[in-house]
C-alpha cells in the first residue's frame, strides 16, 4: 500500500544518494516539484534516467545532484539546448557528467522490459547508427527461430521512479490520462515509486481500461497541485510555454543559474512557496 505523505518526507525516505532515479514524463506530467525537492535536500551522485530530459533535469544537473545521465533526447522542447546539460558534458561543470545514450525506441523498450522483470529488451534498431559505437551496452542478439540479428539493451530498473498524475484516491490508487509516455512502465520497473498528484479524491471514477496504478504497486503518493509546472496536467492546467523560453537565458550562464537555484529552490520551503514566489516575480515584470 502506498503511504500518503508530504513530498518532503517521501523524498527524504525514498530517494538516497547514489540511487538510480527516473523522473519520467513525456512533455506532459513532468514531476517538477519532486525534482525541486531532490535539489532542496541536496541529494547527490544520482544516476538520472529519462527519455526526454528537459528543464528539471537541467536544474538537477546544474545543481550538482547527478553523476550520470541515461537518456535518448535532451533539449528544451520548442526552444533549443539545455545549457546546464551541455556545460556538464562539454566543460564538466559543476562536475563531470557521465552520459549513457540511447534512442527513444530503445529506452521505451527497456522500461517495458524492466516492468516485465526481464534483464534486457530486444528490438529492431540501430543498424547503421553510430550509437552502438559509443554505448557499449547496446549489443545484439540472434533470434533463435529466424536467425535475424536484433538489438539487445539492458532493461531500466530504477531504485526509484517519480511520476506526476492527475488523481489519487484516499487509499493511494492513482489515475492518469492524456499523453502517458512511459510513466506506467517506469512506475512498475522501479523498486520504489513516488507519485505526485493534482488532487486526492474519495473515488477515482475511473472508466474501464483506464490507466490506473494500484496503491499496492506504489510506495508514496503526495498531493502537489500544479507539481508538473511548467509542464502540464491534462484537464487541470496548461503548459507554461513562456517559462520554457524564460529558462533559456537563466540557464545559459552559470551565475544566473546558481542565483536562480539559490533564490527559487533553496530560498523556498516547498513547491507551493516556490509557486507563490514565481507568480510574484512574473507579476512584477
Amino acid at each position: 500500500m502506498a503511504e500518503i505523505l508530504a513530498l518532503r518526507d517521501a523524498v527524504k525516505r525514498f530517494v538516497n544518494d547514489g540511487d538510480t532515479v527516473a523522473l519520467e514524463g513525456f512533455t506532459h506530467l513532468i514531476p517538477t516539484a519532486a525534482g525541486h525537492e531532490i535539489i532542496r535536500q541536496g541529494k547527490k551522485d544520482l544516476t538520472l534516467v529519462r527519455m526526454t530530459p528537459d528543464l528539471i533535469y537541467d536544474q538537477l544537473i546544474g545543481a550538482g545532484c547527478a553523476r550520470k545521465l541515461i537518456f535518448s533526447w535532451g533539449g528544451n522542447p520548442g526552444v533549443g539546448s539545455l545549457h546546464r546539460l551541455r556545460d556538464a558534458v562539454e566543460k564538466h561543470w559543476p562536475q563531470p557528467l557521465e552520459i549513457e545514450e540511447h534512442s527513444h525506441a530503445d529506452l521505451a523498450n527497456a522500461y517495458v522490459a524492466g516492468a516485465s522483470g526481464l534483464p534486457f529488451a530486444v528490438l529492431r534498431a540501430y543498424a547503421g547508427s553510430d550509437l552502438p559505437k559509443v554505448n557499449p551496452l547496446i549489443k545484439t542478439v540472434t533470434c533463435p527461430f529466424t536467425g535475424e540479428v536484433l538489438a539487445a539493451v539492458p532493461s531500466v530498473r530504477p531504485d526509484v521512479s517519480v511520476i506526476h498524475a492527475q488523481k489519487a484516491d484516499r487509499k493511494g490508487n492513482v489515475l492518469l490520462w492524456g499523453i502517458l509516455g512511459v510513466q506506467k512502465e517506469a512506475a512498475l520497473a522501479a523498486k520504489r515509486c513516488i507519485v505526485t498528484v493534482e488532487e486526492i479524491v474519495d473515488d477515482l471514477n475511473a472508466p474501464m481500461n483506464s490507466c490506473v496504478l494500484p496503491t499496492w504497486a506504489l510506495t508514496a503518493v503526495c498531493h502537489v497541485p500544479g507539481g508538473a509546472h511548467p509542464s502540464y496536467a491534462h484537464g487541470y492546467n496548461q503548459r507554461d510555454n513562456r517559462f520554457y523560453q524564460a529558462w533559456d537565458p537563466i540557464a545559459r550562464d552559470r551565475g544566473t543559474f546558481t542565483a536562480w537555484i539559490d533564490e527559487y529552490i533553496h530560498g523556498t520551503a516547498d513547491f507551493s512557496e516556490f509557486q507563490a514566489k514565481l507568480a510574484a516575480a512574473q507579476e512584477a515584470k
Partner: protein, 259 residues
C-alpha cells in the same frame, strides 16, 4: 502572392505527403509541413507523434511533441512504448518525416554531436525517435534548411542511417524500410540517384540558381540529368500555411520551435 524561401520549403515538403498515408511526424519543420499537407492536399493523412497520439489533427502547431492539443484531436492516444513497438516496428508507418541538424550525401542524419563524441564542440539533443523511424518506416522524408554547415561532406556522427555508404548499404544492413526518398530544403529538392543512392538535385525552387545550391552544400553536389523547377506555392497553400502560423502564434504567444 509573394512568398519566402521558408514557405516554399514547407509547401514543397507538404506536397510530398500523399493522402491516406500514415506518417510518423517529427516536431518542428516536419510537423509544420505534415499539418499543412493535412489542411490542403491530403486531408486523410494519418499523423502519428512519438509521444502517443495516433491520427492527431491539431488546429495549431504543437510547440512540444507532447502538447495537449495532439492528444485531444487524436483518434487514440497510446503509451510511447506502444508507438515504437506496435506501430513503428510493427511495420505500420508509410512515411517517417524527419528534421536534422546535419545530413550527408547519402541522407544519413546527425543529431548527436559536432566534433568528437567524447569531447564535443557542440552537444546536440540526441537521437530521440529518429534512428528507428529511419530504419523501419517504409520511406523517409527529410526537411531542413540548406547550408554548407548542415549539408556536410562527412558527418561527425551518424545518429540515424539513410543510405549508409550508398549502393546496397541498406540491404546489407537488413533494414526493413526503403530509407530517405527526398530531402526538401529552402533551395531545392534532392532525391537519391538510382544505384548509388547519392542525393542529387532533381528540382530547384523558383529563382534559385545551381551556384546557390553548390555554395550551400558541403560536398560536390551533383544535378540530375533532368532538373525541374518546383511549382510556386499556390494562394491556397500559402493562405493555409499563414493561417496555421497565425493560429499557432495566437495560441502559444510564440512561433512553433524548430528544435
Amino acid at each position: 502572392m509573394a512568398y519566402s524561401t521558408n514557405e516554399m520549403m514547407t509547401v514543397a515538403a507538404a506536397r510530398r505527403l500523399k493522402n491516406d498515408s500514415v506518417c510518423f511526424v517529427g516536431i518542428g519543420l516536419p510537423s509544420k509541413a505534415a499539418n499543412l499537407a493535412r489542411l490542403t492536399s491530403s486531408p486523410d493523412v494519418v499523423l502519428i507523434y512519438e509521444s502517443g497520439p495516433i491520427g492527431a489533427k491539431p488546429s495549431v502547431l504543437p510547440l512540444s511533441i507532447g502538447d495537449g492539443e495532439l492528444a485531444e484531436t487524436a483518434d487514440t492516444v497510446v503509451p510511447t512504448g506502444e508507438i515504437f513497438r506496435y506501430w513503428l516496428q510493427g511495420g505500420r508507418i508509410d512515411v517517417g518525416f524527419l528534421g536534422a541538424a546535419q545530413v550527408d550525401r547519402f541522407g544519413n542524419i546527425n543529431t548527436t554531436v559536432v566534433g568528437d563524441y567524447h569531447q564535443p564542440k557542440v552537444r546536440l539533443p540526441g537521437a530521440g525517435g529518429a534512428p528507428e523511424i529511419a530504419g523501419s518506416a517504409k520511406s523517409v522524408l527529410i526537411i531542413l534548411k540548406q547550408s554548407a554547415r548542415s549539408f556536410v561532406d562527412k558527418l561527425d556522427f551518424i545518429t540515424s542511417v539513410g543510405h549508409g555508404e550508398g549502393g546496397d548499404s541498406r540491404k546489407r544492413l537488413g533494414l526493413p524500410g526503403a530509407g530517405p526518398v527526398g530531402i526538401i530544403t529552402d533551395l531545392c529538392i534532392m532525391e537519391p540517384e538510382e544505384g548509388s543512392h547519392e542525393f542529387v538535385v532533381t528540382a530547384l525552387h523558383p529563382g534559385v540558381t545551381r551556384e546557390q545550391v553548390v555554395a550551400a552544400t558541403g560536398w560536390a553536389i551533383r544535378f540530375a540529368d533532368q532538373v525541374s523547377t518546383t511549382a510556386e506555392p499556390t494562394a491556397v497553400e500559402l493562405t493555409a500555411l499563414r493561417d496555421l502560423e497565425a493560429r499557432t502564434a495566437a495560441a502559444h504567444g510564440q512561433a512553433p520551435g524548430e528544435a
